[in-house]
């Protein structure tokens, strides 16, 4: 009797697990363009933005979720919940925010919220089915934060797609990102201007098929 109940339980659990939408997380260091990419995806497929993007680091300090985004490519459809996460950093200095004209009190509050954001991003890692790492093409990709995030995803067997963002900029160096992470598929885009966004969606379909 117990075995029959267990079987029914497993059957239902399995069915519901298959039915749930993929949780797709946008991860990376601050200012890589995660929210700009999230906004691009949401604008393209829902007609509305997800959050505010800014040139000041740690603009996203809370997890933001947009549910049930359906994208279409070559007759196929992919539905997922998009999770935009605060940028992961190992240092946060309120004085850095003051360089952008913020008052001390505001800068300290932003720093406090940013530290909580980093903790939340790390906590959410294990909930993701697929992760898109958004890197700034003009910055050095070989940082320990990038290596740690990717290493953790690898250990958790979560499929990873690396996006080399801001390829519209003159100093963009996608080759450097490819050299740093040779075992991953890298898609170069400009989330701001929509450059190669179709290539990105195509890669998204491929990576979503590899989910746990």
């Amino acid at each position: 009797m117990v075995d029959i109940l267990g079987f029914i339980n497993r059957l239902f659990n399995g069915w519901f697990r298959q039915k749930k939408h993929i949780k797709m997380g946008l991860y990376g260091p601050p200012n890589g363009g995660k929210t700009t990419l999230a906004n691009r995806i949401c604008l393209d497929w829902l007609g509305e933005e997800l959050g505010k993007a800014s040139h000041i680091p740690h603009e996203t300090r809370e997890i933001q979720i947009k549910e049930q985004i359906s994208i279409k490519n070559k007759g196929k459809e992919l539905t997922f919940n998009l999770v935009d996460t605060p940028g992961i950093a190992t240092r946060i200095d309120f004085e850095d925010f003051m360089k952008f004209g913020m008052k001390e009190k505001e800068a300290k509050e932003r720093a406090k919220e940013a530290t909580r954001g980093v903790i939340d991003s790390i906590k959410w890692l294990d909930d993701m089915d697929v992760v898109i790492i958004v890197l700034d093409s003009i910055k050095d990709p070989y940082t320990q934060v990038n290596i740690t995030i990717i290493g953790n995803l690898e250990a958790r067997k979560i499929p990873v797609l690396i996006v080399a963002n801001k390829i519209d900029l003159k100093k963009a160096n996608m080759k450097k990102i490819e050299d740093a992470f040779p075992q991953y598929h890298i898609v170069g885009i400009s989330a701001k201007y929509g450059t190669n966004i179709d290539g990105f969606y195509e890669a998204l379909f491929k990576i979503a098929n590899k989910k746990r």
Partner: protein
């Protein structure tokens, strides 16, 4: 003056993850640059970042971290790849080096990937 503290792997080998992180963070918060033999486990690295964030205040601004690990260097040769797998099985996390410094002293760590450069804060800023 910058203090560099060396931690041999034997000193952290039998510690729990929590104690390892506590030990490293305590040294870094004492404004020491830690050079540790070996590396932390992947989940310990994220825990170290999490714990660092919890400790940040107006004096402690965080850490700079870099790990040099032979696995980072891609091997094309099959025999060398096998050797690497064997060493990893035998030595585990003992291989490589980890450098952790306080953000107030270490401005940036550049990895090349088999070379680490520590860029320290300008002395003028440190005096502030």
């Amino acid at each position: 003056m910058i203090t560099l503290e060396f931690i041999p792997y034997s000193e952290i080998e039998n510690l729990t993850s929590n104690k390892r992180i506590n030990k490293l963070l305590k040294l870094v918060k004492d404004e020491k640059i830690v050079l540790m033999e070996g590396r932390l486990k992947k989940e310990e690295e994220t825990d170290l970042i999490k714990r660092t964030m919890e400790e940040i205040n107006s004096k402690f601004k965080g850490i700079e971290l870099a790990v040099i690990y032979p696995e980072d260097i891609e091997e094309a040769n099959f025999i060398k790849k096998l050797k690497k797998i064997f060493y990893n099985l035998v030595l585990g996390e003992r291989r490589g080096f980890t450098v952790i410094g306080p953000a107030t002293i270490v401005k940036e760590v550049k990895k090349d990937p088999n070379k680490i450069q520590l860029l320290t804060q300008e002395s003028k800023k440190k005096r502030k």
